[in-house]
């Protein structure tokens, strides 16, 4: 077991806590950089989807996991980003500019949604964002002159000032770059005063306020940042699929995003990535197992929903920290091997913390 004795503040906020971190994340980065030569084209596309969903997951994690505001309409931001990107790219704007616009517009929309969030809390916020999601979906479907309505629109290949990314590998590297930048951005944000203010708001609004944190400012900021990341993810998603339609950004997509961060582990940056891996590989795994099941079960259309539901229920009941929490437990067990006690990660109940009185 490794003990780190922190003797100054700089050590406390360092990104890599020890050499092991540098080594393992470096190795992961190397594998990701070599991935186009290691895996087949199909799996590379899936890996690209993992990266895209991880960016969206990072955004939602910032909002739900670190600021404690949950959004049931996050797919709407994804949709705003995707459609902005599609419309601007088709107008001939180069990729970086269109991406910036997509992120900016999503952030602006997030700001607008964040404003009611100042007045409402808990479940009311969930319903407000849910309503917002439905309205955006309807707008995307009805505003036919811009969005092409229910028939959707095609989007051109990303092109940067004359250099077109027409291969899957090139786009993969682009996504990887954006994901790495987003991750570093979030990590740096979280160790900054802003990030700490977010966490303080999550843990207790009243004590955060009494420590001089401006609730309204930080809550809207969190919404805007989260929406911007979702917008970027949406833009990449549009490029990866090359075709978008309103029904890709409906309530089920929003729930998928929430499911992703809950299964990954709420309140950890790793969770966004683990959740994205889960979300992308689960359908593949089900498709693989399907053939070995009796046809009445294997071919039934509800199988995927059932598995998602069971996994979600199981995680909330038995592993509220998600996949990342499971990894933490395994690691702690190995590190402390003979001395591991049961119940080290036991949750505490708080019947007194009534949401109604928040």
């Amino acid at each position: 077991m490794r003990f780190i004795f922190k003797t100054d503040y700089g050590q406390d906020i360092r990104l890599a806590k020890h050499g092991g971190h540098l080594f393992w994340y470096g190795a992961l980065m190397l594998v990701l950089l070599l991935a186009p030569w290691l895996v087949q084209e199909y799996w590379l596309a899936q890996l690209t989807f993992v990266l895209i969903y991880a960016v969206a997951g990072l955004g939602l994690m910032l909002l739900a996991g670190f600021t404690g505001l949950f959004s049931l309409g996050h797919a709407a931001f994804l949709g705003v980003g995707a459609y902005t990107q599609a419309v601007l790219t088709n107008m001939g704007l180069p990729f970086p500019l269109a991406l910036a616009c997509a992120a900016g517009l999503s952030a602006a929309v997030g700001l607008v949604v964040g404003l009611p969030a100042l007045r409402v809390k808990g479940i009311y916020l969930g319903i407000a964002t849910l309503s917002f999601g439905f309205i955006v979906e309807e707008v995307l479907a009805r505003w036919e002159s811009v969005t092409g309505g229910n028939s959707g629109i095609h989007i051109k290949k990303p092109d940067m000032f004359g250099w077109t990314l027409d291969s899957g590998e090139a786009f993969y590297f682009l996504c990887l770059l954006i994901t790495v930048l987003a991750t570093l951005g979030i990590l740096n944000l979280l160790r900054s005063p802003t990030g700490r203010a977010f966490v303080a708001i999550r843990d207790s609004e009243i004590s955060a306020q009494s420590m001089g944190i401006h609730l309204a400012y930080y809550k809207t900021l969190s919404f805007a940042l989260s929406a911007a990341l979702a917008g970027i993810a949406g833009a990449l998603y549009a490029h990866q699929l090359q075709f978008i339609s309103p029904d890709q950004f409906n309530i089920l997509q929003s729930i998928d995003l929430l499911l992703m961060i809950v299964i990954g582990g709420v309140g950890s940056v790793h969770g966004a990535f683990l959740g994205a891996i889960f979300l992308i590989t689960m359908p593949q795994a089900i498709a693989m197992v399907k053939d070995y099941l009796p046809p009445t079960i294997g071919q039934a259309p509800g199988l995927q929903g059932l598995v998602y539901g069971v996994v979600l229920v199981a995680f909330v009941l038995f592993e509220p920290l998600g996949l990342y929490g499971r990894w933490l437990k395994v690691r702690t067990y190995l590190q402390m091997f003979p001395f591991y006690r049961k119940g080290m990660f036991k949750r505490q109940k708080s019947f007194q913390k009534s949401d109604r009185l928040k």
Binding site: S131, V262, V313, V316
Partner: protein
């Protein structure tokens, strides 16, 4: 005359929203959790009635009562097995849990071969009958919805106002800890609240079934009941019904007078306005917390 006609069909639809919202409110008041599986419970209730009538061949009233009783039992079991272990956790985890339950219910129903993926008609005795009353064309299915909702409201009012059980439930919903100290079996009451909510959801499903048919995705209508609950005030039983009626009427009128697309979003626009203007809803009480 046309306006009245529209309002009546809005009221009928609103009663369905109100009944589902009633389930939310019952559960919210008792356990401070919000069940996103309420729409799916409604769907299960409708399928239960369908199974009773077509598979088992029971008469209408028997299969309806059977479905409601079965759903009440199911709700209590659900509370005992899945909800109780995580009571006292943040609202977020319980929302995700109920979303998961909804997924499971929908998945399971869809997996029943040849039944889950189809759309079914519930063979009710009052199917396709029409009354003519002073120039109005009244659909009997809608009238039954309105009538049953009215009766149910009176029953629930009596339960909460006059019975020992209802008063105990009110006490528990005001302050769980104090209720515990007074010897009220709060946990059992939570189970009963879930059972009651599931039964109300089953009634909503059985009432809706003749109008929209029975299918695995009919639970999505539960998402429309959230606006109803918020407009009425999330913690208020009469509020749920009133909110449902408002949403139903607004939806019906906007579907006729406003351009396409407003019908589907009207409920959500109303709820957003409501949250900005009066976040506690029409009947919601304002609670504050001492630090």
């Amino acid at each position: 005359m046309q306006l009245l006609q529209l309002v009546i069909s809005g009221i009928a639809q609103g009663c369905i929203y109100g009944l589902i919202a009633l389930g939310f409110v019952l559960i919210y008041k008792a356990t401070e959790t919000v069940s996103f599986a309420q729409g799916e419970l409604m769907m299960l209730g409708a399928f239960g009635g369908l199974a009773g009538m077509t598979l088992l061949g029971f008469p209408y009233w028997l299969s309806v009562l059977g479905a409601i009783a079965a759903m009440a039992l199911f709700g209590m079991v659900l509370e005992r097995v899945v909800i109780r272990p995580i009571l006292g956790q943040p609202a977020f985890s319980i929302v995700m849990l109920t979303i998961g339950i909804g997924y499971v219910a929908r998945g399971l129903i869809t997996m029943i071969p040849n039944i889950g993926t189809e759309t079914h008609m519930l063979p009710v005795p009052y199917k396709d009958q029409i009354w003519h009353l002073a120039g109005l064309v009244l659909n009997v299915e809608q009238m039954v919805v309105i009538g049953v909702t009215g009766v149910l409201c009176v029953l629930l009012y009596t339960l909460f106002r006059y019975s020992k059980l209802g008063i105990a439930m009110q006490a528990a919903s005001q302050n769980q800890l104090a209720a515990y100290y007074m010897g009220i079996p709060v946990k059992r009451l939570n189970g009963i609240a879930w059972g009651l909510a599931a039964a109300v959801a089953a009634i909503a499903g059985l009432l809706l079934a003749p109008i929209t048919f029975v299918h695995a995705n009919m639970g999505f209508i539960g998402l429309k009941a959230f606006p109803a609950a918020v407009v009425g005030g999330f913690g208020s039983l009469p509020g749920a019904i009133v909110g449902g009626l408002i949403i139903g009427i607004v939806e019906s009128l906007s579907g006729f007078y406003l351009p396409d697309g407003f019908k589907d979003t009207a409920a959500y626009i109303v709820v957003l306005i409501m949250l900005v203007v009066k976040p506690n809803g029409l009947f919601g009480e304002k609670l504050s917390k001492k630090v």
